[in-house]
C-alpha cells in the first residue's frame, strides 16, 4: 500500500498579540491508503491544527505535507472533513443537507453525483428520511448524514475531528460502528483526531501519539486487533495492554 498522506518535518507557529506560539514541531508521520489512523494527544496539543494543515485551511511554517506525493493545496478536492458536531443545517431537508457540497461545487445537476448521493442514502438506511428535517432524526442518524454529506464529494482522505464527542456513550459506540463500517466499505482512508484512547484503539490500524505543545510524534503503534467492528475489537485480549501503553505515553 502506498502512502496517501505524508507529514514531513512539519512545524507550525501562530501569532498572538503577546507572542509567537509554536504549535507543532517537526511532526513526521504517514498514512497509508485505506488505513484508519488516529491521532491522540493531550488536549490543546495541536491535533486539530494538524487537520487544518492537512486540508489546506492553514499553511505550515516549515516542512511539507503531501497527498499522493503532491503538495496539499488550499481547496483540495481530495479531502473531506467531518466535525465534532454534525452541523446539519436545520432549514434544509436531509437530502438538501447531503447535496450541500455538490451545490457549492456546482455539481448538483450532475446526474452521476446525485445518483451516488442517493445510493449512499439507500445503503445506509437513510432514504426514508430524505425529505425530513434534521431535528426529526436521532443523534446517531444525524452523524451518519454528516458523514454521507462528506462522502458525496468522494474525497480520498477523510479527516474526522472528534466526530463522536458530542454523543452520549451508548449512541457513541453505535455511531462508531456505523461510521467505521461506512468508511471501510467505501474503501476510504481516514485520519481521526480523538482524546479517547479506547475509541482510537477500537477503530484504528495505526495510532500516532502526540506530545503536549509544541506537538511532535511521541510514539506510533500499529494495531491489529481481531474483530470486524470497533465494538468487537474492544474484546481483543491485547486491548487493555495497548490502552495502558498509550495512557502511560500520554501522561
Amino acid at each position: 500500500m502506498d502512502n496517501l498522506l505524508e507529514f514531513k518535518n512539519v512545524s507550525y507557529f501562530y501569532q498572538t498579540k503577546e507572542n509567537e506560539v509554536k504549535a507543532l514541531e517537526n511532526v513526521d508521520f504517514s498514512v497509508k491508503e485505506k488505513q484508519f489512523t488516529s491521532l491522540v494527544g493531550p488536549s490543546g496539543c495541536g491535533k486539530t491544527t494538524i487537520l487544518s494543515l492537512t486540508c489546506g485551511l492553514l499553511n505550515c511554517s516549515s516542512g511539507e505535507i503531501l497527498i499522493n506525493g503532491e503538495k496539499v493545496k488550499k481547496h483540495d478536492d481530495r479531502i473531506g472533513y467531518m466535525f465534532q458536531r454534525d452541523h446539519l443545517f436545520e432549514w434544509r431537508t436531509i437530502w438538501q443537507n447531503i447535496i450541500l457540497g455538490l451545490e457549492i461545487q456546482k455539481k448538483h445537476k450532475d446526474e452521476k453525483s446525485l445518483a451516488f448521493a442517493e445510493s449512499l442514502l439507500k445503503k445506509y438506511d437513510l432514504y426514508p428520511f430524505k425529505n425530513k428535517k434534521p431535528r426529526q432524526l436521532s443523534g446517531g442518524m444525524r452523524q451518519r448524514v454528516a458523514l454521507i454529506r462528506t462522502l458525496v464529494l468522494n474525497p480520498a482522505l477523510l479527516l474526522l475531528d472528534e466526530p463522536f464527542s458530542a454523543l452520549d456513550f451508548q449512541t457513541r459506540l453505535k455511531v462508531c460502528d456505523d461510521v467505521y463500517e461506512i468508511i471501510k466499505s467505501e474503501n476510504k482512508t481516514a485520519l481521526l483526531v480523538t482524546h479517547d484512547i479506547s475509541e482510537a484503539l477500537s477503530m484504528s490500524d495505526k495510532i500516532i501519539v502526540l506530545s503536549k505543545r509544541p506537538a511532535h510524534v511521541k510514539e506510533i503503534y500499529e494495531i491489529n486487533f481481531e474483530g470486524a467492528s470497533p465494538l468487537a475489537k474492544r474484546e481483543d485480549k491485547d486491548f487493555g495492554k495497548y490502552f495502558e501503553m498509550i495512557w502511560r505515553n500520554l501522561v
Partner: protein
C-alpha cells in the same frame, strides 16, 4: 375523523386529565385577558360617568367611540389612518431592507465593521427626534420627513441586531463551508442568511413597534395628516377625545401589523 375518535377512546385517565388541564388553563388565560379589558373599560366609563374622572381630561370609552364615528362621518379619518399606515409601512420596509443590506456589507468586511463600530454605537444612543429639525430642512415637511424619521429610528437597530446574528454564526459551520470550498457569496446565501432567519423575524417584530414610534414622532414634527397629526391637533384645540380616539386607533393598527408579522415565526418553526 374516525381516527380522532378512536384516539380519544384509547387515552388513559392521566392523559385525559392532562389534556383537560391544558384546555382549562388556555380558557382561564383567555378569560383573564378579556376580563382585564372589560374591567378597565367598564371602570373607566363608570368613573367618567360618575364624575370621579373629568371626561374633559380623561375622555371615556363611549366618548372615544362617538368621536371615532364622528370623524369617520366627516370623511377625514380614513385619510389620517391611511397616511399614517403607508408612512409606517414604507418606513418599516425601507428600514428593514437598508438595515439588512448594511449589515451584510459590514459582515463582509471585518475592517469596515471595526471602523464603523463606534459610529454605530453613537448613532444607536442618539435620540433620533433630535434630528427632527434637520430632517425638515433636508427633505421638507410632510410625508417625506415622517418616512425618514421612521427609517432613522428602525435602521440602526436593524443593522446592529442583524450584524450580531451574522457574526455569531457557529465557527465550525463556517469551517464546514470552507472545507467544501464555498466562496464568500455561497457562505452568505447558503449559511449566514438562512441561519439568521430567527433573528430577522424578531427584528421585524421589533420594527413594527419602532416604525410606529417613528411615524408618530415624524407627524408631531411636521405634517398635515396622519394619526400623529390628529393627536397634536386634538391637544392644541383642547379636544382630548380626539387625542384618545387617535391613540385607540393607533393601538389597533400596531396590533394588527404585529399579528401579520408573528405568523412568520410559527411558519419558520414548523
Amino acid at each position: 375523523m374516525k381516527n380522532k375518535k378512536k384516539k380519544i377512546i384509547n387515552y388513559s385517565k392521566a392523559r385525559k386529565d392532562y389534556l383537560k388541564k391544558i384546555r382549562k388553563d388556555k380558557v382561564i388565560v383567555l378569560f383573564g385577558q378579556l376580563a382585564i379589558f372589560a374591567i378597565f373599560i367598564g371602570l373607566w366609563e363608570l368613573l367618567a360617568f360618575t364624575g370621579v374622572l373629568d371626561p374633559f381630561f380623561f375622555s371615556s370609552p363611549s366618548r372615544i367611540v362617538t368621536t371615532i364615528i364622528d370623524l369617520a362621518k366627516g370623511g377625514n379619518l380614513w385619510i389620517h389612518i391611511w397616511t399614517s399606515l403607508y408612512e409606517t409601512l414604507i418606513g418599516f420596509a425601507l428600514a428593514t431592507v437598508i438595515g439588512v443590506v448594511i449589515a451584510i456589507i459590514l459582515w463582509w468586511s471585518e475592517k469596515l465593521r471595526r471602523m464603523m463600530e463606534p459610529y454605530l454605537i453613537i448613532l444607536n444612543s442618539l435620540p433620533k427626534i433630535a434630528l427632527g429639525p434637520m430632517i425638515i430642512f433636508w427633505v421638507g415637511s410632510g410625508t417625506g420627513a415622517t418616512i425618514v424619521m421612521c427609517i432613522l429610528i428602525c435602521v440602526v437597530l436593524t443593522i446592529i441586531s442583524m450584524l450580531n446574528a451574522f457574526i455569531s454564526c457557529d465557527s465550525d459551520k463556517l469551517l464546514l463551508m470552507k472545507s467544501m470550498h464555498a466562496n464568500k457569496f455561497q457562505i452568505l446565501f447558503k449559511l449566514i442568511l438562512p441561519n439568521s432567519l430567527p433573528q430577522f423575524i424578531s427584528v421585524l417584530k421589533i420594527n413594527v413597534g419602532m416604525s410606529w414610534v417613528g411615524t408618530i414622532m415624524g407627524e408631531y414634527l411636521s405634517s398635515k395628516a396622519g394619526l400623529g397629526y390628529l393627536i397634536n391637533y386634538g391637544s392644541q384645540i383642547l379636544k382630548l377625545d380626539i387625542v384618545m380616539a387617535s391613540i385607540t386607533l393607533l393601538c389597533i393598527l400596531a396590533a394588527g401589523m404585529y399579528f401579520l408579522v408573528s405568523p412568520l415565526e410559527k411558519r419558520y418553526k414548523k
